[in-house]
Structures are given as C-alpha cells and as structure tokens.
Amino acid sequence: MKSGRFRFKIGNRELTLIITIVLIYLFMCFAKGELFYARSNIEAIFSNLSYDLLLACGMTFVIILGGVDLSVGAVLALSGIIATLMAQSGIPTAIAVLAALAFGLAVGCLNGILIAKVHVAPFVATLGSMSICRGMCYVLTSGYFVANLPTSYLNIARGSILFSVPNKILISVIIMIVLAVLSVNFRPLKSMYYVGANGRAAFLSGISSDLVKIIGYGISGLMAGIAAVLMTGSLGMGHASYGLSFEMKAISAAVIGGANMAGGEGSFLGTALGVILVALVNNVFIMFNGSPNWSGAISGIMLIVAVAIDMIRNKIRERRTA
C-alpha cells in the first residue's frame, strides 16, 4: 500500500471527466478544425478559467463543509472595485492588492461567523452578503468603469514570469495545486472533511467545528479577492457587474468534480476538471452559434445532469450490492 506525502488519487470520476474532456476536444477538432484549435480560441477558453478556478476552489471547501457560498461573485466585483479605486487614486499597488484580499477574507469570515456561531442557514447568510456587496459596488461606482490603472497593477495579471504563461493562469493554477495538496495534509483544511461529513461526530472527536467553518468561508472569500485582482488587472478596469452568476458556475464545477452538496466529499482535481469541462462546453455551444447568454444556464443544466448521473450510478451500485 503506497502512501506518499503528496499523493493524489485519480478516482473514477476524475478519469471520467478527463475522458469526457478529451473526447469533446477531439470531436471539436474534427468538427470545427482550425476554428476550434486556433490559439485565439484556446485562449478564449482559458481567459475566464483562472477566475473560475479560484472561485470553484473556494466553493469546494464550502461544499465540503456542507454549505454553499452565494456571495463569491459579488465579493469578486466589490474587491475588484476597492482595489481599482485605490490603485487609480495613486495608492501603492501592493496596498491596493492587499486591501482586496483582506476585504474578500473579511466578508468570507463574516459569513462563516454568521453560519457557525449564529446558526444562520448558509444560503441565507451568503445571499444577504451577496446583495450587500453587489449593492455596494454600484454605490461606489454608480455603474461606471474604474479605469486608468497603473501599469504595476495591470502587470500582476497580464505579465508573465514563467514560460510566457500569463500570470493570472499561473497564479490560479499554483493556488489551486497548493490548496489541493494542503487539503490532504494540512490539519485545519483536512478537518473540513470531518466537519462536513458528520458535524456531531467531529465535535465529539474534539475538532473545533466552528473555527473550521469560519476558515472555510474565509478561504472562499479570499479566493474571490484574489480572482478580483486578476480579473480587474487583466481587463484593465473594475466594474460592478463583474462576476455575475459566477457562483452558479463555481457550484456546478465543484459538484461536477465530485463535491457532494450534503458535505464531506470533494476533490480539487475534480473541481479543476469540472471548471475546464464547463468552460469547454460553453465554448462548444458558442462554436455552434449558440448565444453567450446561455452561459449561466449551461452551468445550471450541467449541475442538474451531474447530480442526476450520480443518483443513477448510486442506484445501480445499490442494486448490485443488495
């Protein structure tokens, strides 16, 4: 029995997802040829991937905890506006970036406190903070773009420090890998699986469930903050409408990747593959002249289909064992 320190399990689901992604890719290469595998199209697929990846990672933690975070899209928008407003007014880039991250973390922790300490249902607490954050975006900007950002700010996302891979992709992939590894081996993150799988048993086992929950929602908020810096830097401006319905995409990606809404289960590799699959399906849809308006709906449909497939698979498995 092997047990390496950074051992990843490629379970059934991950394999299925990889095969699905490869099949769709191959199919599209044949069906649309150059149009599909042109560098511009691949870049288009990847352009939103980095933000989705970060939000989905945070969402995976929250879903593992048995909750849900509807505020991520709005927190992304507001963190982005805070950072861009600061950067625009000449405050050093580092401070602006830190402010965005701190803000995301703070909102996440507040959600966590409401949920863990005051026992507000997760969707109610995060729905509330979603509304507050989205509203604040418009209050701060009146719906105008926040542009004219210093180059140092823009370079965080646009620059490239390694193999000419854009920083934003590099950063989000690295963060994803780090979280994935930590979730296996780092006690405070590993504890989330216990709390989500069986809160009562975790409490009786001496795990401080409340703190773990606050950390989980805090990470989700922090991820939104990081995504905000990358998104505003990459697009060169901040706007109140960024991140609309991103929560839907993040939940879908996590669930497609194997996270169980009932808590206790979730895989980061699966989530990453889920993000890629959702992005790819969206691209396929557009390639076949579908309207980009369907992006949110596609996430919704994929979520329902993923859960339905799980359901059927479990039924078949039960019948076999019974």
Partner: protein, 501 residues
C-alpha cells in the same frame, strides 16, 4: 375471531434481525401489553402494525383478512391508531389543529370549521380528562401535556385498535392515573388496546394480557391472574448465559482516576455520584431515558452541568468542550456510531485518526500520512478488523461489527486514561460482541479506567466489576458485580418511587 392477529412476523434491518417469527393475537375490548428490554423489538412490531414498516415475512391479519399496509394513512383507514414514542406534535400549531391534523372538520371545499374544530377538540381533550385550551399553541405546553394532546389526537380518530408506545414516560403520576381511566373506558367500549411500556407496575395494573419479547422473539404471553413481577422479569431476561465473558479485574486496588459528585442537569439527571478506578470497569445500567448518556455527555464537555463536581486525578476539572476533555485523556465512545461516532463516507484511516489529528501532525500542522497508515494498520491488526487491508476502505462498506471496532480504534488512538463507552455492542453480531468485551477487559488491565453504559443486562453482569443502576435521572443502586443476578438489578430499576419527572 381475533380483531388483529400477527402470524410469523419477521423483520431485519440489514444484517440485524429484529423480529423472528412473532405470533400474537389481539382481542376486542382487552388491554394487551407488550414488554421487553430495549431493542427487544417492541417498537418495530408496533410500526409494522401501524403501516410504517413492512414485515419481511409473515402476515398481519385484520378481522380474519390478510392485509398489507403501505403507510400510516392506510392503517388509519383500517381503524388502527398509534400514539408514538417520539412526540408527533407540531409545536407551532394550536392544540386543536394538532388533534385534528389531516382530518379537520370542514365545510364544503375544504374550509375548516374552526368553531366546530375547537369545540370538538375541547370535547376530545375532556374525554382524556385534560383541561387544555384548544387554541393554545401546542409548543407552549409541557411535554406531559403534549403527550396528552397526542393521545387525544389518536382517540379522536375513533380507532378500533389503539397502540400506545411508552405513553407514560413523560406523565406525572396523576396524569398516569387519568390515562388509565381513559384506557379502561375505551376497553369497555370495545376498543382493543396495545400498550407498550417499560414500567412493570403499570403493566400489571392495567393489562388483561401481557406478552414478553426478548431479542425479537416472543417468550410467552401471560393472562391477568398469572402476572407477577418475578415471572415477567424472568421471561424478559432469562436467556442462556452460555456465552463466555472475559475474567474480571485482576486487581481491585487501583487509584481513583475520575470522581463525580452531585452532578445535576435540569430535566435530565440529578445528584449523580460515581467514581472510576484504574483497572476497573464500571457498568452503568438503566433503560432508555434513564439519563445515562446525558451524564456521560456532560462529563465529557459536550453538554452543560447545572451543578456538581468532576475530579480528574484528584483535581477539579470542568471541560468546556469535547476537545478539552480529549486532551485531558477523557474519551467518550458514543452510542450511535453512525450519527455521532464515525464518518461513514470517509476512509477507515481517516476515521481512526479523527480524534487524535493533533498527535499525527508535525509542528507545522501537516499530517504525517506514514504515521497515519501505521497507526491504522496497527489497530486493524490488534482489533482483528476484517478485511485486514481495509485501511483505505470507506466505513460504509464494512460490517457493523467491524465498524464498531474502528470506532474503538478511533478512541484508543487518542490514548485515553478514562474511557466512557456507550452501548459498545449495539448492532454487532455475537462474535464481534465477545471480541469487544475482551478488548474492554484488556484495556482495563492495561491501566485504563472504563465506564460502560449498556442496556443489555448480561453484558453488564458479565463484563463489569461494579454496577451502577440509573432510573429516571437518578442513581438507584450500586452493586459489586460478583455474584449479582439479573433479578436484583431489574428490581433496582423498577423499584423507584417517584422519579425526577
């Protein structure tokens, strides 16, 4: 012809056989009681009659006809009503609404006749001798009053067969008297009453017949003039003691590790004293609701204490939460492993270290997977868990007995000095049972102080060194286990005058 007859009813939950070939007959106008220890299958039998469960095999014969019921609704249509053990009162509705739930008196088009409903509810409540305002919100009533409402609710449905599952557990003596008068009235009106209780004196007081269940088997039915406490107790507990229990403690003079004085918690337990010695097993016996688990949870820091003192190694302690208790070496192995013990969808190795995560981490809080693997494999070998390569299996794929062993492994890995085990052999097969008994003895011999809560008398007598009996939130007796008989313990349970409630 009997009103209701059960023929060869058998029912299992998974591998656990709860009822085996049970035959019973219920006649018109009689009170037929059913008694048995916890887990003897009484409630399951009633749920089969009430259409909530279906028997795996056997027949339910109503008025000579074989019936199959799929839901409580159908049972009601056959005139069968159950007063459930768990209150099925909806707290935010009025008393009248609860009494007439789903059969409200209505005008045309489903419009409720509130006036009629309230007055009929008042009448129904008067019938059970309760003066409760039908417009009061049910949740504002005391539990005893809610129980009365629950009874009124079923009686108001004009049932022919009335099943009462432990109806008196929340009632005061006066309320019990009143209830028995009502049952007497109903009997005279020709209703067949099936009465389930733990309380022997009550059963003898009102029953025409009593059937005894033991381990899912009917051990006999007594008529009114054959009933007396010793006979019934013998039928409840008299089983072959062919099973071997481990030897008792080799030494009885270990120092006192944990001592509790005057523990009280409102509505749960009061004035509980006990001590645990190194190397000994204290058995705690009592029926469900006696307050045993509650005491354990409070000592463990998972619940509050209103008053009382807990001394660990002579020093006064008060654990704020389980985490605190575990770090002091006090561990609690919960009674319901699926709800409060194990993480059934997680791997065996993850479960084994769940209570000692801190100790398998390095300074930076990273888990040492190698150490986890080793600890897990060690316990798998030591406790003989099958299959022996199950380290990465999910708990839900193990059998009940092996799951229970993993639960033990989880707590042993936390290196306790005081181990409280709650129903350690519930839902495991005979082989795993004796294995767990010898594990407990070995742990005690290795210097651990153990408190074993159990509802199984033979287990209490066979495994413990000392026995404490609890009933209705109070400690009723202390015994040396050597030479103790089941009858003595049962008498200590039943001979309580006026408990906490």
């Amino acid at each position: 012809m009997s009103v209701l007859e059960l023929r060869n009813i058998t029912k299992s939950f998974g591998a656990n056989k709860v009822l085996t070939d049970v035959n019973m007959k219920f006649e018109e106008g009689e009170i037929h009681s059913i008694i048995g220890e916890n887990g003897a299958g009484k409630s399951t039998l009633m749920k089969i009659i009430g259409g909530i469960y279906r028997a795996d095999s056997g027949e339910v014969i109503l008025d000579g006809k074989d019936v199959v019921m799929h839901s409580p609704i159908e049972a009601y249509e056959h005139g069968i009503g159950i007063v459930h053990q768990e209150l099925s009162i909806v707290g935010n509705m009025t008393v009248a609404q609860n009494v007439f739930v789903n059969c409200e008196p209505v005008y045309k088009a489903g419009f409720i006749n509130w006036k009629k409903m309230n007055s009929e509810a008042k009448a129904a409540l008067a019938e059970v001798g309760a003066d409760i305002d039908p417009e009061e919100i049910a949740g504002n009533l005391s539990v005893g009053m809610q129980q009365i409402v629950e009874i009124a609710k079923v009686i108001a449905k004009k049932v022919r067969i009335l099943i009462l599952d432990e109806p008196t557990s929340a009632l005061s003596d006066k309320e019990v008297d009143r209830l028995f008068q009502i049952l007497d009235d109903l009997r005279r009106k020709g209703v067949s009453i099936i009465f389930i209780s733990h309380k022997l004196n009550e059963i003898i007081r009102i029953s025409d017949k009593v059937s005894v269940l033991r381990d899912g088997i009917r051990t006999g039915t007594l008529l009114r003039d054959e009933m007396n406490e010793p006979t019934i107790i013998k039928m409840m507990v008299g089983r072959d003691l062919g099973r071997l229990y481990p030897p008792r403690a080799s030494s009885r003079d270990g120092e006192i590790v944990l001592e509790c004085k005057g523990l009280s918690l409102r509505n749960k337990f009061s004035n509980i004293d006990f001590f645990l010695k190194k190397g000994e097993i204290l058995g705690v016996f009592g029926l469900v609701g006696a307050g045993r688990t509650e005491v354990a949870l409070s000592v463990f820091g998972a619940d509050n204490l209103d008053s009382g003192k807990v001394l660990l190694n002579g020093k006064s302690v008060s654990f704020k939460n389980p985490s605190d208790a575990v770090s002091h070496g006090v561990c609690y192995l919960s009674e319901d492993r699926k709800v409060a013990g194990l993480f059934v969808n997680m791997e065996v190795r993850e479960n084994v270290v769940s209570a000692c995560l801190k100790t398998v981490c390095n300074k930076a809080d990273f888990l040492n997977q190698g150490a986890i693997g080793k600890i897990t494999q060690d316990y798998i070998n030591e406790l003989d868990v099958h299959p022996s390569n199950c380290s990465r299996f999910r708990i839900r794929n193990l059998s009940g007995g092996n799951q229970q062993k993993i639960l033990f492994a989880k707590w042993l890995a936390a290196k306790p000095t005081v181990l409280i085990v709650d129903e350690p052999t519930r839902g495991v097969d005979v082989g795993a049972k004796s294995m767990i008994h010898s594990i407990l003895r070995n742990l005690a011999e290795s210097g651990m102080a153990i408190m074993m809560i159990s509802s199984e008398l033979p287990e209490i007598l066979g495994v413990s060194d000392r026995v404490m009996v609890m009933s209705e939130g109070r400690k009723t007796a202390d015994f040396e286990a050597e030479g103790l008989t089941e009858e003595t313990v049962m008498n200590a349970v039943f001979n309580t005058d006026g408990g906490l409630r």
